[in-house]
Subunit: 79 residues, 2 copies
């Protein structure tokens, strides 16, 4: 099972990307965790270390995929 | 079955995103077509009409998801 983490901040672009991923990813292959920085800011450091520059972003197999553009990590950190 | 089209131009960022999508999308739910503009430039107009600004991009349910950034559509058109 591949572990994937979808990071977002509740923005409209984020919510749309989250729905697409939840709807269409093959959950028999991918263990998908959704992290909302507004609810769990302690995960910001881990995301930045993985190369997340903006949200929404999906990290899978050590690769970071930025999906459209909702907000920068600086915006996220500044609330 | 949901129809999705992944547009790319063979760039390294494109190839990596294509692999992730082919590996992890649930093909029992998504009929996924892969379009390489280098091989089929006639599809450029359709992609731009769908809102594709850069590659790689995935269009599903009328929404366009730009996944990281490989090249602009202007780069694609200029070969």
């Amino acid at each position: 099972m591949t572990k994937a983490v979808f990071y977002h901040a509740g923005c409209e672009v984020c919510v749309d990307a989250e729905k697409m991923i939840l709807d269409y990813f093959d959950r028999s292959k991918v263990d998908l965790e959704v992290v909302h920085f507004g609810e769990d800011p302690s995960r910001i450091r881990e995301a930045e270390a993985a190369g997340v520059k903006s949200v929404p972003a999906l990290v899978v197999n050590g690769q970071t995929y930025h999906i459209n553009y909702g907000a920068s990590m600086e915006d996220v950190k500044n609330g």
